[in-house]
């Protein structure tokens, strides 16, 4: 099999995930997009592993570890999201904006970087 096929598929999936993280408002949808990014990495790693015939199988090992970390991450993430939801009745990232340099909203460095505040 051409290595280009899995590599290109992984790259496209990663970009779709990046788009989702930046575009979504609901925290859970953002988490789902992060999962897509991690899966893109996994596809890449498995493809490289099989291609390289790596005797240590570092690619597959990292894939298994990534899957585990993703599961732990999403469990913890949902616990945090539910915690916030219970107090604020919202799971929208751009409504969670009590913190921040609001008295200096014209500050470009922060405004550009903090995507939570970008939509406000």
């Amino acid at each position: 099999m051409h290595l280009a096929y899995p590599a290109v598929l992984a790259v496209l999936l990663f970009s779709v995930g990046v788009y989702g993280v930046l575009a979504r408002r609901n925290v859970i949808l953002v988490l789902m997009s992060v999962e897509l990014m991690l899966n893109a990495v996994n596809l890449n790693l498995v493809a490289f592993d099989v291609w390289l015939r790596d005797t240590l199988h570092a690619g597959q090992a990292l894939t298994l570890f990534t899957i585990t970390v993703a599961a732990a991450e999403i469990g913890l993430g949902l616990a945090i999201v539910l915690l916030v939801y219970r107090t604020r009745r919202t799971a929208a990232v751009d409504r969670v904006t009590a913190l921040g340099d609001r008295h200096e909203a014209d500050d470009p460095a922060d405004a550009a970087e903090e995507k939570e505040q970008a939509a406000a």
């Binding site: 496209l12 788009y19 949808l29 899966n39 597959q60 999403i74 799971a91």
Partner: protein, 205 residues
């Protein structure tokens, strides 16, 4: 023997044409298109629950891709962990945060154009990169690369320490999630804290 095969495979890239794909490649490409389509729908749909279900399609398709790449064990872990638990957790999360069943107009934030630009730019850059780097590389799929036995051997001979660290991570995540979610901590009997709080609050509203 396998290294010899790999060497032979990589040494004659010119012989492999993109115009005469093998059967495996055709299946890989078809499933790949499905995965990509499902992923795109999943990050763009306005129906939150549908997004989670399309995520199932994307992740399940990836498990098939892993099988095609002969990484059996990874494929089954993908099915078990992602489809079996992560997506279920996501669906629970959506339900507990009262995600609307129908279309929700505010699923996307205001910076969609910017996000689209970033996504497209990263896709263009990275596709150019990997096509340029790997266009003549050939994966030799003969011989097992990811059987359960092999996986066990490399995990427990070369990657023991990170493996153990990961077990600690899982314990930490477990404890952490309990700390954040257990509503009444008297230790006598566990109570479905999240659910009840959310439901009563919902009624109050």
């Amino acid at each position: 023997m396998s290294t010899l095969l790999a060497a032979a495979g990589s040494l004659e890239p010119a012989a492999r044409s993109y115009l005469s794909p093998t059967g495996q490649e055709i299946v890989f490409l078809l499933v790949g298109v499905l995965v990509l389509g499902a992923a795109v729908v999943s990050v763009t749909t306005r129906q939150l629950v549908h997004a989670a279900l399309w995520l199932v399609v994307a992740l399940g398709g990836l498990a098939v891709e892993f099988l095609l790449l002969t990484a059996e064990f990874v494929a089954w872990v993908q099915v078990l962990v992602y489809l079996g638990s992560v997506v279920v957790l996501v669906l629970f999360g959506l339900m507990l945060t009262r995600a609307p069943i129908g279309r929700s107009p505010d699923a996307d934030s205001g910076n969609r154009p910017a996000a689209l630009a970033v996504g497209a730019a990263s896709a263009a850059t990275l596709v150019t990169l990997v096509v340029d780097a790997f266009r003549s590389s050939w994966i030799d799929l003969s011989g097992p690369a990811g059987t359960t036995r092999l996986t066990g051997e490399f995990l427990f001979s070369h990657w023991v320490l990170p493996f153990e660290a990961l077990s600690v991570l899982l314990l930490a995540a477990l404890v952490g999630a309990i700390v954040l979610s257990r509503a009444k901590g008297d230790g006598t009997k566990p109570r479905p804290g999240n659910l009840r709080t959310v439901l009563t609050k919902t009624k109050e509203r």
